[in-house]
Amino acid sequence: MNRLTQLIEAALFSADSPVSLSQLAALDRDASRAEVKAALEELTNEYVRSGHGIELAELADGYQLLTRREFADAIAQAHLATRPRRLSPAALETLAIIAYKQPVGRAEIEEIRGVSVDGVLRSLQERDLIDVVGRAEGMGRPLLYGTTPVFLELLGLNRLEDLPRIEELSIALSTPMERRPQSE
């Protein structure tokens, strides 16, 4: 592997979340974006060719090294790492609404789910999966919520557009979730 590839590998290795292309490009000011991309490809190929236990994943609008799926159980059983807690149905439903309707206020989420979502919003915010992205106009100027890069990371998605399109869902509806997710 050439030096840039090594540097990128070391950089991805020392980051605790996905690293964007521009951050990687900042590692070596002499390197062009094309060279960085070529290095990322070399790294991907090298992991496959030599048969490594880790792989290069593209997610949350960046790059991250991850262990290969087949080793998860053995690692978890040896208590060397733990899988993240699973989200409750309430949390998943709330996330689903926010993902598709963002920016969206609490009242609208509650109307769709039919329950109060106060506690759920707070815990999603504490887990950094959603954040306040603004305030609506009108009475009380309610807070508006949107999803965060951590949300994408948790789901292994690269961008919001990777969510299933509304037309792909089996329940077709004329109105509610008409808006396509927008990337920021």
Binding site: A57, T67, R69, A90, V115, G134
Partner: protein, 257 residues
């Protein structure tokens, strides 16, 4: 294939009938349902009801029964749904105008919300699947401290601060006028202990009664127990001289019980 669907449906029906069994009124399975729409959909799906033609009287009855059995009948969100169902039921009973074309089905809004909610659930299931898939891959566990670095920059925005203010405001308790500190007096326990001790010896010292390293509550409990026992004639209390320890004697001469 339909046999399988059938079997699943039958099993689910059994589960709901277990829930609404009158002799198990306190099955708290709140976690089972993420809200009134979820419960409603469950009732509709398990009976293979056409969602566009809901037998509203039947469903309203089952819904009320289920929230009662599940102990959800005090949860505002469920009550709200129950009230809505009853209102639709009444509207369905009203005579329809002659020109059926202009008749608006009172169930329309309910159907719209149920379908919308089903869509949300479908997305939620997809998200869950994705999260499961992703959780099979670990990222780097140990991240080294960067050598000799300026402290990393802090990101802070107005939205975060405002959200924090909201959280704080919501968590502020109602003003406390006075605080009642519950005293953990255990007079019953002390009474039992004293009577047990009197079983083995006719005469006791107060220090025996309160035990080693007593707390204030222990002393008070023992004192109140002794006073009560003396009042009903079970013990006799004596103090040989001023400031000496109290002597306690069992009153066997008084067989009250």
């Amino acid at each position: 294939m339909s046999g399988l669907t059938r079997a699943v449906a039958v099993r689910q029906r059994m589960s709901i009938s277990a829930i609404v069994e009158p002799e198990r009124p306190f099955v708290v399975e709140l976690e089972e349902f993420s809200g009134p729409l979820d419960l409603l959909l469950h009732l509709i799906r398990e009976q293979e009801i056409d969602i566009t033609d809901i037998p509203i009287a039947q469903i309203a009855h089952q819904f009320l029964h289920a929230i009662d059995a599940l102990g959800l009948d005090e949860a505002a969100n469920y009550l709200e749904m129950a009230a809505w169902l009853l209102r639709i039921k009444i509207q369905m009973l009203l005579p329809r105008p002659f020109d059926e074309e202009n008749w608006e089905d009172p169930r329309a809004e309910l159907v719209r919300r149920l379908l919308e909610y089903e869509q949300v659930r479908e997305v939620a299931r997809w998200l869950e699947g994705q999260a499961d898939l992703r959780s099979g891959q670990f990222s780097r566990g140990w991240v080294p401290e960067a050598p000799e670095q300026e402290p990393s920059p802090i990101v802070l925005d107005l939205g975060q601060i405002l959200a924090a203010v909201d959280r704080v405001l919501e968590s502020i308790p109602q003003p406390v006028l006075h605080r009642v500190v519950p005293r953990p007096l255990d007079v019953e326990g002390a009474t039992r202990r004293i009577l047990d001790l009197l079983e083995s010896s006719r005469e006791l010292d107060f220090l025996d009664v309160i035990g080693p390293e007593p707390t204030v509550a222990d002393v008070l409990s023992a004192l109140m127990a002794l006073l009560e026992l003396a009042r009903v004639g079970r013990v006799r209390l004596m103090q040989p001289k001023p400031f000496s320890s109290m002597a306690i004697a069992g009153e066997s001469t008084h067989p009250t019980d």
